[in-house]
Structure formats: C-alpha cells, structure tokens
C-alpha cells in the first residue's frame, strides 16, 4: 500500500469502503500491519471492525506501479474462491480490489488461525492430533482440486503444462542459469523417458507442499499460495508434496513429512482422485527435486545479477547440492 506511507488514515478508509462493498453494514479498519513481502507481493494483517465485532483479515497486493511476477491477484482470488466452492479448505476471499480503490492489485481474505511453519507442526507434540489428520485432509483436498477440471477454469487462462513441457521449461531455466550440474543432466535424460508426453491434465495447485498449509488444532485449515496453479498432471502435486525438501527433515515419512506413500495414495483414490501410477509418482518425486534445485539456481542467479541481491538468496543457491544428493539416491535406489 504505497499510499499507506504518506496517509495511512486515507488508505484504511479506502480499504473500509472496499469491505463495505463486499458485506452489508458498517466496517472500520483499525490497523494494517505488514507481515511479509518482496518487490511485487505484499501481505498485510488487517484488523477491521464489522458491526462492532472484530474481523481479522489478510490483504495481499501487488503495489501500484508494480506488476505481479506471475499470476495476477484477481486470478488468484478467483481460483481460491472456486477451490473453496469445490470443498477445498481455503481462506475465504472477501473482496477483490479494483483500480478505482487506489490500493494496488490485490484481494482481501479471511484470516485463518493456525500454524504455517511446517517444522513446527511436523514435529511439535502439540500438533500430534493435527498431524494424524493431515493424511486424510490433504488427500481429500488434492482430490477435490483435481476434480475441478481444466474446463471450469478455462476463463482464467492459466498456463497449460504437460509433464514434458514442464521438463523443457525447467531445462530452459537451467540453461539460462548457465547450469553445469551432471546429476541434473542425468535427471533431465531419465525424466524425458519416464514422464508422459501429455496424460490426463487437470487444474493443479502447483505448489502443494507442507510449507503452504495453515494447520489448526485438528488438521488442515487452509491451503495457501495459489500463484503457481496451472493446468498440468495431477501427479505433479503429489510428487511435489513428497519431494524430500518438503519433508522438512521428516524423511521417513515420504509424503509431506507426515504420511506413508501407500496410505496417502489410497486415501487420495478413495477421495475421488485418479488411480495413482506408483512408478510415475516416483518419477514426479524426482521431478520435484529437480524443480526445487533449478529454483535454487534461479535464486542464486537473481542475487548475482543484482536483481534481488540478498544473503538469503545467495545461501539458498547452495541448497542445489541437497537436491543433487536426493536425485542421486533416487537414481541408485529407485526411491528416497
């Protein structure tokens, strides 16, 4: 909120009018607190009062004058709403900003209580009950996302990526980063053989992993970060969830750090998901490690180009060797 710096009162009033457009009655905005963000994405906690009752919200925007890296916030809001309508646990979208609101491109959603730091909910005793529920909750959410179908989101013009197109896109990024990683070269060659050219594509979340869940006392409260959603192979979501990096050290539980493969596949199928090709699911786990490895390289390149110079980006680039080790282990032993 650019204006917030010069006139916070006016920005709060503008936001209150946006909210009044969405719900009946009087709304005041008491505080807008920055939570996190980079150049193109800002997240705020919003403390509002609706008809005398406290109303906690989250505002996510691309600031005025900036363009979103990928998906527009309006498309993200639409997806989140449609996923919610399909029974997926998401934060309910309250209002989408318009250019006339003068607050940037973005939307307001309901604040969902819970833990977002995966290492906490994956390990702490306080989350034992929630953890036990995550297998069924995530399997059901994924099955429901994948049942929405590409036709139902055709108007949103999401990218369509077959598994092979996904692999080619990764290779292009790897080449742009001047990658010289023999293990990645082997993975590209192996996956070019193992991944199908097309397959039964569906709407997929694209970033479905233990770091993108809000976990409440009894299990999954919301799936967040829909920016990488696209039309692709459903097993990409399962493979990404099972990628060793996103087990956050709970390596013995291959799915997200909280579930066994067979139990998860069975729950996904029982919830209406398509039959899981076990061998192909493992190929998608390798694709997950390769994808994260290339993302790490990209962060290193962004640091070196001066685009986003930061010690954090530079350090993340050193996580490439983790993904190389994971891929090597898979190449030697079939699964990690």
């Amino acid at each position: 909120m650019e204006q917030d710096r010069t006139d916070p009162g006016a920005a709060r009033a503008r936001l209150a009018r946006v909210l009044e457009r969405a719900v009946p009655g009087h709304v005041d905005v008491e505080a807008v607190i920055p939570l996190s963000g980079g150049a193109s994405s800002l997240t705020y906690a919003v403390d509002a009062i609706r008809e005398g009752q406290a109303w906690r919200l989250i505002l996510q925007i691309t600031p005025p004058g900036q363009t979103a890296d990928g998906m527009s916030r309006a498309v993200q809001a639409a997806l989140q709403t449609r996923a919610g309508n399909a029974g997926v646990r998401v934060a309910e979208v309250v209002a989408v900003l318009t250019p006339q609101d003068g607050l940037g491109e973005g939307f307001v959603m309901v604040f969902v209580e819970g833990e977002t730091l995966a290492p906490r909910w994956l390990r702490d005793d306080a989350y034992a009950e929630a953890r036990a529920a995550m297998l069924a909750d995530c399997a059901e959410s994924l099955a429901r996302i994948h049942a929405i179908g590409a036709e139902a989101v055709a108007d949103l013009r999401l990218p369509v990526l077959t598994p092979q197109a996904q692999l080619r896109a990764l290779r292009e990024t790897y080449d742009r980063c001047e990658g010289a990683v023999p293990v990645f070269e082997l993975a590209f060659a192996v996956l070019a053989d193992r991944l199908p050219e097309d397959g039964d594509l569906a709407l997929i979340h694209g970033d479905f992993r233990s770091g993108n869940f809000i976990v409440g006392d009894t299990g999954l409260a919301a799936v967040v970060d829909w920016e990488l959603a696209h039309v692709g192979h459903p097993l990409l979501d399962i493979g990404w969830l099972s990628t060793n990096t996103w087990r956050f050290g709970q390596t013995q539980m291959p799915v997200g750090g909280f579930a066994e493969r067979e139990a998860f596949y069975a729950a996904y199928e029982a919830a209406g998901g398509r039959p899981v090709d076990r061998d192909l699911a493992l190929a998608f786990e390798m694709l997950g490690s390769l994808r994260w490895g290339v993302m790490c390289m990209q962060m290193g390149a962004a640091h070196l180009s001066g685009e986003v110079a930061s010690v954090e980006r530079a350090a993340i680039a050193r996580r490439v060797s983790e993904t190389e080790a994971d891929i090597l282990f898979m190449l030697k032993n079939g699964a990690l």
């Binding site: 010289a180 082997l186 350090a315 490439v320 080790a325």
Partner: protein
C-alpha cells in the same frame, strides 16, 4: 606458533563475530545475520575442503585427457548428448564422490548425505 592469518581464519573470525552480533538483533535483521553466519561457515568449509577439486578428480578415470577445470562441463555435455547414461560404468560413483564432497560443505547435516555414505 602460527601467526599468518589465512582466508579461512578471517572467514571464521567474521562468522564468530556475526554469531555474537545476532543476539543484539531482532526480527528480519536477526534472521539475516543467522543466514550470513551460516554462509560464512559454508565458505570456511569450502576453503578447507576444496570440494571442487574432489569433484574434478573423481571424474578423472572417465575423463583422463580433459583438464581438471573442464571436466564438469565435459561430463554435462556427454550426458546431454547421450554418450553417457546411467549404465556408464563408474559414472554414478564418480558423481556421488563430487556431490557428497560439495554437500558436506554446503550442509553437512543433510540426511541424504548420511544415507548416501551409509549405503
């Protein structure tokens, strides 16, 4: 008594200072100080262990005529062209020697490092 300060000594001294300074910081600054301390620890291990040399030497049996600093690129080119595959004798072991050497520098506590070394 040794008195000459090597690069690795400087890096370790700076890392020790940053670790101390971290306690005085909060929020984002404290987080970045922690990341910076870790980055210096990686640099210190790299100066000591020289994993790049280990990696190049491990490819020596497969690429005896290729100079050390060109072996990584040569290995990539051979895999990409299809000349080397998973079945190429010695390839996976050579790559593993290089990867584990680098990973021991980047993140010595990473679980797959122990699993590869144990296997």
């Amino acid at each position: 008594m040794r008195s000459r300060i090597e690069a690795v000594d400087l890096v370790e001294a700076a890392a020790a200072f940053l670790k101390e300074a971290e306690g005085e910081l909060s929020g984002r600054m404290a987080f970045h100080a922690k990341v910076a301390t870790n980055a210096l620890a990686i640099a210190a291990r790299e100066l000591r262990e020289r994993p790049g040399a280990v990696e190049a030497e491990a490819l020596g049996a497969l690429l005896p005529d290729v100079p050390l600093d060109e072996r990584l690129a040569a290995a990539c080119a051979r895999i990409r062209s299809g000349a080397w595959t998973l079945e190429t004798p010695g390839l996976l072991d050579a790559l593993e020697a290089g990867v584990t050497a680098r990973l021991a520098v980047d993140n010595p506590r990473f679980s797959t490092l122990q699993r590869l070394r144990g296997a």
